[in-house]
Symmetry: none
Subunit: 231 residues, 2 copies
């Protein structure tokens, strides 16, 4: 049996049971090594199939019938589709890819009636290749934020003055037409905002940082802007 067929069978196998199944048991049923089962589980997981394992218990797939089926209203669908296009145009390559595959998944569960709706979109959001440089910056900063990695950056400020510093990227703020990074500046020991389009160079360092109650988006919004963080 080849891999594709085996993955398909694995989904059927797990879905047909109410109890979990250990990797070893799966290996035996499928006639492959345990190592291969681990790889198969990972493959399914990466495709977004909600397969979950627990040590000592085994793997199972969450039964679909315990969930409310996802049914969107036309406005909800429209919002998702428009949002997805904005992401493709205004963020980074990886997120754009995520947006595309999320859209495929959403479209695949629509009723015919809604599919029709989805097809006649008045929205067009051009994806400009000239923004590819910005997309790269965006991607790097997103990774840095998510992994809480410090960043060494060369930045050009409003006065056209170049500076090199180490910053802790806390959050990415979307304004109409531009993104800024909220970061903690090690040099100044203070919050600073950086426009994405003013970075001359960016290096993700190996070193991590820790957000504290004194250094975080919520704290910045509270103490500097004077508003509660909506999350």
């Amino acid at each position: 049996m080849n891999k594709a067929e085996r993955l398909f069978q694995l989904v059927l196998l797990l879905r047909s049971r109410r109890t979990a199944m250990t990797a070893e048991a799966i290996a035996e049923t499928m006639g492959v090594s345990v190592r291969t089962v681990y790889r198969d589980v990972q493959a399914l997981s990466l495709s977004g199939i909600p397969i979950e394992g627990e040590p000592g218990v085994g793997y199972m797939i969450r039964a679909a019938n315990h969930l409310p089926p996802l049914i969107f209203t036309p406005d909800e669908l429209q919002a998702l589709l428009v949002g997805n296009r904005m992401v493709q145009a205004f963020t980074d390559q990886d997120l754009a890819k995520g947006a595309r595959s999320a859209e495929l998944k959403i479209r695949s569960i629509l009723t015919d009636h809604l599919k029709q709706h989805a097809e006649q979109q008045p929205y067009r959001i051009p994806i400009l290749e000239s923004d590819d440089g910005l997309r790269e910056v965006h991607g790097k900063l997103r990774r840095a934020c998510e992994q809480r990695r410090k960043v060494r950056a060369i930045y050009l400020d409003e006065k056209q003055e170049k500076s090199e510093r180490t910053i802790w990227p806390l959050g990415m703020i979307g304004w109409t037409g531009k993104w800024t990074l909220l970061a903690w500046c090690e040099l100044r020991h203070a919050y600073r905002n950086f426009r994405f389009d003013r970075f001359e160079a960016l290096d993700l360092l190996e070193e991590n940082f820790r957000t504290t109650s004194d250094i975080s988006i919520a704290h910045y919004l509270q103490s500097v802007v004077g508003m509660r963080d909506p999350g």
Copy 2:
């Protein structure tokens, strides 16, 4: 992309459409040769997925239920959430409402693992009340586009000259930081682009218009911009 993943994508792709798709079109979307598409179709068919082809028409899949329970990957989820926030900030009130309720529905089906992901968002997209005027314009134009209603508009052009005209709103184009309306101008008998922030007044008329092969977004993109409409 490996075969297993591609087969999964193929199922989603076919399920996401109302109409059949030729092997050649599939090959192009997937980035593989046509021969491989034929093999993939056969593989799915052998696994018992009801995929059917008709010469000259293409392939399609009957009935659902063959889809494994579907959930999003972290990147897909991130894309949906960011997109939703952009919609709330940069479109109109109704669509924003749609975005919020869509988000609730999506969150309700997430696994614990994904919920955690969803909570630690680095993105913040402020919703500025000062844009409420723009939101109203946006909402009116969206309704006009969707219902294909003619619009009587007072518009201030680049030279600060005011004009009143009847237009057929065809599409809403999202640029970095601004929206423009592509419309057919009854006065000039030509396509015109209007910035949302330059409308002084907007009245949705009772009268409808009909898009034709000579007056449509696709035709505009083809004949004026010189590109194919991505849809």
